[in-house]
């Protein structure tokens, strides 16, 4: 956990008081809705189809059990008993009343939480690997850098009115679980030839209307220079990013229009004069932030305790969950447990207040009071002793968050779609729900192996459809809901955008089409362990297209 101190708490409290004043001015009419809009957006408050929506930041996806309980309280007291975890490791509440927002925020502040910069044209919540600090394949904890960047960018006086929103992600692992190549800035910690750890800096990635995989503009940036270099990038973007067209305002367009090399030169020119200034990180500051991340007092335990093997051998359901949802931990005898928020028929990423409270209690009992949120819209208990896994599983199963479908076809990433969102062309959640029913047979899902379906209800791509192994994009055709289908996308270290399968299909047929794509994969795969992505890579889009459109 990261420990907030008085400085952090004071800032959040001052923010609540400022927002209370802004809401009062809006309610009295002193502020017009147009003037209020950017202010509320900077506090995570959107006006949606039916109500105001409040998005709460969960920095780098790390939550304490008390914070999760506070989220449950907000769901219960101010909303309709549930919250929705998002692809930016945040949570949003969909039914909050404007007049009650300041109270909700004051409650959240008591747990050190807020909605600062979860929306608006500023630097958004910094995301990272949900397994940070416990992953076996990381070189160090990336959250230290995410926290330094969070502090740099929170209420930044220069970068709070950027051309458009700005998203930064950090990874420190061999396997990129933070999708850094599809962010405005992606940072990959790695070791250079001299054995020093620094950052590969990637800019201009992103999805939305014009998707790009980011370009590396600095293969190795020393740690001390992280903040000054990010400031230089933001300064170039703030000045030269397009403001004439909202659809061309993201940094990816600037990088694309200038070319990565010319962009890198502009950044270099901004960076050199500030490189050795106040933002240069001295080791003491880094050490201070690192020291605020507290790790559990792990017991000395052995891997694979006998009780675990016994439970595995005697209970098929437990064995299936263990194989699917439990990953290796860097400390012997411990495990990382993913809690699927993708039950059959459920809206992806939703959790009820009751579930949140129960998960908080289980985190206290089995995971040193810590919970993580992943961009796949699942939760994680990051420090579970392997001997506790059978008991934990029974408890998770009781509250419906032990569906063994993590990384499988029904672990669907979806935006809220037309059920909530004023931008959407189509519904997304009902499509996800229908697909969970079509693929309810877990043996089939396991046989299909790793297969990510991503659904976005509009071109803004909140469901990251471009990087779904199967991507579904909602479009409107003559007032009807249609979906474009892409295949072969991925967001990891080999990030790639999916290729279009063919003409858009009507809403009512989209689940059939996905079934056809999956059936085609089963026929086309070279061997049972060739995953969907590998098959697409090997045979291309054409055979899938033939199969899907032959009868349409």
């Amino acid at each position: 956990m990261y420990l907030y101190d008085d400085f952090d708490r004071t800032l959040v409290a001052e923010r609540v008081s400022e927002f209370r004043d802004q809401v009062a001015r809006r309610l009295s009419g002193e502020l017009t809705e147009e003037e209020f809009k950017p202010l509320r957006l900077m506090n995570g408050v959107y006006l949606q189809l039916h109500a105001y929506m409040l998005r709460i930041a969960i920095p780098y996806g790390t939550l304490s059990s008390d914070q999760l309980r506070m989220l449950a309280h907000v769901a219960r007291r101010y909303d309709r008993n549930y919250g929705h975890f998002t692809t930016r490791q945040n949570i949003q509440f969909n039914w909050i009343k404007l007049a009650e927002l300041p109270d909700a925020m004051a409650d959240l502040a008591r747990a050190g939480m807020h909605g600062m910069q979860t929306s608006g044209n500023c630097v958004r919540n910094i995301t990272t690997d949900q397994w940070a600090g416990v992953a076996t394949d990381e070189i160090e904890d990336p959250r230290i850098w995410a926290e330094l960047l969070r502090q740099l960018t929170t209420l930044h006086p220069e970068f709070s009115f950027l051309p458009r929103k700005f998203k930064i992600a950090v990874t420190a692992a061999a396997h990129d679980r933070a999708a850094v190549r599809v962010h405005d800035i992606g940072l990959r910690l790695h070791r250079n030839g001299a054995g020093e750890v620094g950052f590969e800096v990637i800019v201009g990635g992103g999805l939305g209307r014009t998707p790009f995989v980011g370009k590396t503009i600095k293969p190795f940036l020393p740690k001390r220079d992280l903040l000054s270099y990010v400031e230089a990038i933001l300064r170039v973007y703030n000045q030269f990013g397009r403001r004439d067209n909202i659809y061309k305002a993201r940094i990816k367009i600037l990088v694309h229009e200038l070319g990565a090399e010319a962009f890198a030169k502009e950044v270099e020119a901004e960076w050199q004069p500030i490189k050795n200034g106040a933002l240069a990180l001295d080791p003491a500051v880094i050490a201070d932030i690192a020291a605020r991340f507290r790790y559990p007092d792990y017991e000395t335990l052995d891997d694979s305790p006998p009780a675990l093997a016994k439970a595995r051998a005697t209970d098929r359901r437990f064995a299936a969950w263990l194989d699917n949802s439990v990953a290796n931990h860097k400390v012997p005898g411990y495990a990382i447990v993913t809690l699927s928020l993708k039950p059959e028929d459920g809206p992806p990423g939703d959790a009820t207040a009751k579930q949140m409270d129960a998960i908080a209690d289980l985190a206290d009992r089995y995971s040193f009071g810590e919970i993580r949120v992943g961009h796949e819209q699942n939760l994680v208990l990051p420090h579970v002793a392997q001997r506790d896994l059978p008991a934990l599983w029974r408890a998770l199963d009781t509250i419906g968050v032990a569906t063994p479908n993590v990384g499988l076809v029904t672990d669907i990433i979806s935006c809220p779609g037309l059920d909530y969102c004023s931008l959407a062309n189509t519904r997304s959640i009902p499509v996800a729900q229908e697909l969970t029913r079509r693929f309810r047979d877990l043996d089939l899902a396991r046989d299909l192996g790793r297969l990510h379906i991503n659904i976005s209800g509009c071109i803004n791509a909140c469901g990251h459809h471009h990087v779904g192994h199967i991507g579904l994009l909602g479009v409107e055709k003559n007032g009807e809901e249609y979906f474009q289908v892409t295949i072969g996308g991925r967001a990891d270290e080999n990030a790639e955008l999916g290729a279009l399968l063919g003409p858009a299909v009507p809403y009512g047929e989209v689940a059939d089409v996905v079934e056809d794509v999956v059936a085609a994969y089963l026929e086309l795969r070279a061997r049972p362990d060739e995953i969907f992505l590998e098959t697409v890579k090997r045979v291309g889009v054409e055979p899938f297209k033939e199969r899907v459109y032959a009868t349409r």
Partner: protein
């Protein structure tokens, strides 16, 4: 449109000069960017203070040769959502060492004041009277700042370190670097 300086509404002693209008010799003026560059030889000899209205899509590094002779630079916020002038302000203050009046003009609203001040602005052409009245209250709303900027307010990292050193009895002056 009230002008706020040092926390209070004050009278604006500068006369704005439009396009090709003549520049009176004895009064402070704010001239358009094009005039500054075209007529600099004349302007350099003026006795009264000269300011320039600098658009937000031109690099402020172009101002470098003129800065010694400028008492004021006015930067523009065509709408409050267009934040380019924040970068210009910081560059003028922190890179080019401009110490004259740095004035925010255009759609300048209450909730930008603190950002503006932190970026280096010290004069504000405020759009609404009520906002001008609330200036002092608004600007003191926050007492902690995470990041260093051009305004000299102590950023949290530094404050934490000073706090820690005070706690162990290291004299304050040793922490200044």
């Amino acid at each position: 449109m009230p002008l706020v300086k040092a926390g209070h509404a004050v009278e604006d002693r500068y006369l704005p000069i439009l396009d090709e209008a003549p520049i009176p010799d004895s009064v402070p003026v704010i001239i358009p960017a094009a005039r500054l560059i075209a007529d600099f030889a004349d302007i350099a000899g003026r006795e009264a203070p000269t300011g320039v209205l600098w658009p937000n899509n031109r690099k402020v590094s172009e101002l470098e040769p003129f800065l010694d002779r400028l008492a004021l630079v006015a930067l523009v916020f065509p709408t409050f959502k267009d934040g380019r002038a924040y970068s210009q302000a910081r560059q003028l203050r922190e890179r080019h060492g401009f110490r004259g009046e740095l004035r925010a003009t255009g759609e300048v609203l209450r909730d930008q004041f603190l950002f503006l001040a932190r970026a280096g602005f010290d004069a504000f052409e405020v759009k609404k009277d009520a906002d001008a009245t609330a200036f002092a209250e608004t600007i003191t709303r926050y007492s902690v700042f995470y990041q260093p900027a051009g305004d000299g307010r102590t950023a949290v990292q530094r404050a934490r370190r000073d706090h820690a050193r005070r706690a162990v009895g290291v004299p304050q002056h040793e922490t200044v670097r």
